[in-house]
Amino acid sequence: MEILQIKKLSKSFDGGKTNVLNEIDFSIAKGSIVSFVGESGSGKTTLIRMIAGLERSDAGEIYLNNNLVSSDRTFVKPEKRNIGMVFQEYALFPHMTVAKNIAYGLHKDKKEAKNRIAEVLDLVGLNGFEERYPHELSGGQQQRVALARAIAPKPELLILDEPFSNLDAMLRIQLRNEIFEIVKKTGITAIFVTHDTQDALAVSDEILILKHGNLIQKADAETLYKVPKNLYVASLFGEVVSLKKDVLAQFHFKAEENKEYAIRNKNLKLSVEVSFKSQAKIENTTFLGENYQLKLVLNDENFFQVYSKEKLDTETVFVGFEEKDLLVF
């Protein structure tokens, strides 16, 4: 069953001068975790803000549970949409304790609310923190309180807006895994906004790639990796090199008309035992710790970055690939 449906959703700022979203169409199945991936300016933040009701669309429709919540004529206020949201900057109310923060969205009687607070605090592993104020918590703890507060009223949809961008790399991976374990436990439908592809790959059932306000591709992680729709999508999952027809010819590969080719750098093999190969000159070698990065020159004008476990002392080398590793658009 679909919990969210977006139809031809558009938005522009500055009176129509800057297009932020361009006729976006997609839907999200109940119970899934979907990541929205894009650079800043891709429109991903505007998109979730419109789903949440914090921003108004210029055109198009949004359905939540098959109910129209936003169109040219209709607008359901954010407080009536039953969507939970974890903000980038956590947005905990600084003048309220942890318990009060969580109780804020619970429109229940005191005893029920108290039980629910204990329940969600247990879920995020923060029992005993009820009476603390936000400023007495670490960044990771604040994050978890924000999550607890958002899921306490049992929303139908949970939106996490770049929740890890304020954290350093180590803590971020740890917290990311913790948070999504909790999300999965609750079985809630979640939208996760991020600019980090690795984050998206790690946690989501489906990934939605946005660029310049356009929805480029929506698929599960494996499809995106193996069958990316274009070079941009491919490049989100590691270094990619585009292969023009004349270059492919060097490798004795016959390219089809009207098709574009590319390959992941890590799939370029330094070996004579591959199906398509060519000799290349080693321009320079950089030691990167785990391996060596070689800059290869093909035919005096085309460069490749290739990685090698061992240091190569020769001047030239064979480089090539298998057909199954080619990305074709």
Binding site: G15, G16, A52, G53, L54, R56, D58, S71, D72, R73, T74, F75, K77, P78, E79, K80, N82, I83, G84, M85, F87, Q88, E89, A91, F93, P94, H95, Y104, G105, H107, R149, A150, P153
Partner: protein
């Protein structure tokens, strides 16, 4: 295309906040709209006489005051701001905040004190007599004296603005300049002064608004300006039409000044680009220089604060027995009451304006709200005239209605009542309350109210549960600032106050007009005392 675009969402986006916001904007803009409409009624009989004979002197005097006060306030304000923020010299720490204190004294009170000090038989003559020195009579009760008095009481606006720049924005620049081998003198004139210009002009515009707003000092010194002209044509000549024309002319001049300020800021937008967190070390001056700097910086403090306050205290010791009557305490009580009422009213409207603008979804209506904070630029006398017009009309209409339906005759209800007066204060001081509250609201940001919305709480409840508790500091400072401004306010109060009510400012003015200038000292000191606290508070805000 764009227009169609907007109307397609009008039904969806137009909400009650749009209506409330429009209502507030209309409520605040009404006095100016009224003046504008009245202009079409034609000028009064004396207008042509006024144009022929006195208008040139109004324009000439106002222009002279603008130029001289502009020059002197920049000279005092910028130089002292630079010295206290860059160098260490005797009493520098105390002078740093003493320099702001003249703001606590309304310029008409400084004018009374100066008159008493320099007058024939005044304090200066008495003091010099003690050491057997005779000096020729010094006449300061003319336009030159007025320019000096306005300058020493208003320079803090420039001082505060330029000091904020020198304290927060110049540390890195000075270091770069020094590393490039440029000397102190050149660094200041070639680098910092041009960069500080937008800040300085910002302060200067406030000075000029106050110069054009002044009524009490000019009246006491017998100098004809636009404001005294408005009073004369309304009350002495009983020609509101002429007063309206003068008011409109004055407003045109002020908007001209505001446009100039906007223009100079548009061309230079780099002023806020480099805010350095670090404060630079102050330079210790050599012996000779440090006393020289001390003397220079002391001049505005002495003229703008110490001299008038000493003179007033001296007078107070002579007159307190006659002035401290129950009548005086009633006046003080009424003054405080009115100021508190106005402060609460203004803050309420400011909060509504800020939040209705946020909750309104139609951009065009949101932009209108910016108009409503322009009241601070418009002189009190003009606002008073603007408030008189619609309130009189409304009262007349109500009298007519009452007569028709109940055949009873009622008097003026709003005009000359506390309602009319508070209304005028709100229009005039809305910006004073708006700015600190808006700044605090911006600091709170959007994420907190938005997450409250996401948790199922609507805008109003979000305001009371989340935003209001965090806004308290801003609201308090806004109330304090409006309170003090109302305590000091003279021209608007003179025109609009109910007969039964007296304020300290009006009392001081009446004493002075009745040749009882010594008696004016005690209400004046009272006003100054209430004004000092927020000035210190303001100083803390700049340093933090």
């Amino acid at each position: 295309m764009l227009f169609m675009f907007k109307t397609t969402h009008f039904k969806r986006d137009f909400n009650r906040w749009s209506i409330f916001l429009l209502a507030i904007v209309f409520f605040i803009a009404l006095p100016i709209i009224a003046i504008f409409i009245k202009l079409f009624g034609g000028p009064g009989e004396t207008w042509s006489h006024l144009v022929k004979n006195v208008l040139t002197s109004y324009v000439g005097n106002s222009l002279y005051l603008i130029i001289v006060c502009g020059f002197l306030t920049v000279l005092f304000g910028v130089s002292s701001a630079w010295f206290v923020s860059r160098y260490k010299f005797p009493f520098q720490k105390y002078l740093e905040w003493l320099l702001i204190l003249p703001l606590a004294i309304p310029s008409y009170i400084t004018a009374y004190a100066f008159a008493g000090f320099f007058d024939y038989g005044g304090s200066l003559e008495l003091l010099l007599k003690q050491i057997a020195i005779q000096i020729p009579k010094m006449d300061i009760m003319n336009i030159h004296g007025l320019a000096l008095i306005l300058s020493v009481s208003l320079y803090p606006y420039v001082y505060v603005a330029s000091r904020a720049f020198f304290l927060h924005q110049s540390a890195n620049l000075i270091e770069v300049s020094k590393l490039l081998g440029v000397g102190e003198f050149k660094t200041f004139f070639k680098l910092l002064l041009p960069m500080a210009r937008p800040a300085i002009v910002g302060g200067l515009v406030l000075v000029l608004m106050e110069v054009l707003n002044d009524y009490g000092a000019a009246k006491y010194f017998g100098v004809s300006t636009f404001t005294t002209g408005i009073f004369r044509s309304w009350f002495a000549l009983e020609e509101p039409e002429t007063a309206v024309y003068l008011a409109a002319l004055l407003v045109a001049i002020i908007f001209g000044l505001l446009l100039l300020e906007k223009y100079q800021r548009r061309k230079i937008s780099y002023s806020n680009s480099v805010k350095s967190e670090r404060k630079q070390e102050k330079i210790v001056l050599p012996k000779g220089q440090k006393w020289l700097v001390f003397s220079w910086v002391s001049v505005p403090v002495f003229l703008g604060f110490l001299l008038p306050v000493s003179q007033l205290i001296y007078w107070a010791t002579l007159t307190y027995e006659e002035v401290f009557t129950s009548e005086f305490f009633t006046t003080a009580f009424q003054s405080l009451g009115i100021a508190i009422l106005a402060a609460i009213g203004t803050v309420l409207i400011a909060i509504c304006l800020i939040y209705f603008t946020k909750w309104n979804r139609i951009p065009f209506i949101g932009n209108l709200s910016k108009i409503s904070v322009l009241g601070y630029a418009i002189p009190g006398a003009v606002i008073a005239v603007g408030v008189m017009i619609p309130t009189l009309a409304l009262d007349k209409w109500m009298i007519g209605v009452a007569k028709n339906f109940t055949s009873e005759s009622i008097g003026l209800i709003i005009n000359g009542s506390i309602i009319g007066l508070t209304y005028a204060y709100i229009v005039r001081f809305l910006a004073v309350a708006y700015n600190p509250i808006e700044a605090t609201s911006l600091k709170i940001g959007n994420a907190l109210p938005e997450s409250s919305n996401m948790l199922g709480i609507g805008n109003i409840r979000t305001f009371f549960k989340v935003e209001f508790p965090l806004l308290k500091k801003g609201i308090l400072s806004a109330m304090l600032l409006v309170f003090v401004d109302v305590m000091k306010e003279l021209p608007l109060t003179l025109i609009l106050k109910p007969y039964s009510v007296q304020t300290l400012a009006v009392k001081a003015y009446e004493f002075a007009s009745d040749e009882l200038i010594m008696e004016a000292s005690i209400p004046s000191l009272f006003i100054i005392f209430t004004g000092i606290l927020p000035v210190i508070f303001l100083n803390k805000l700049i340093i933090d």
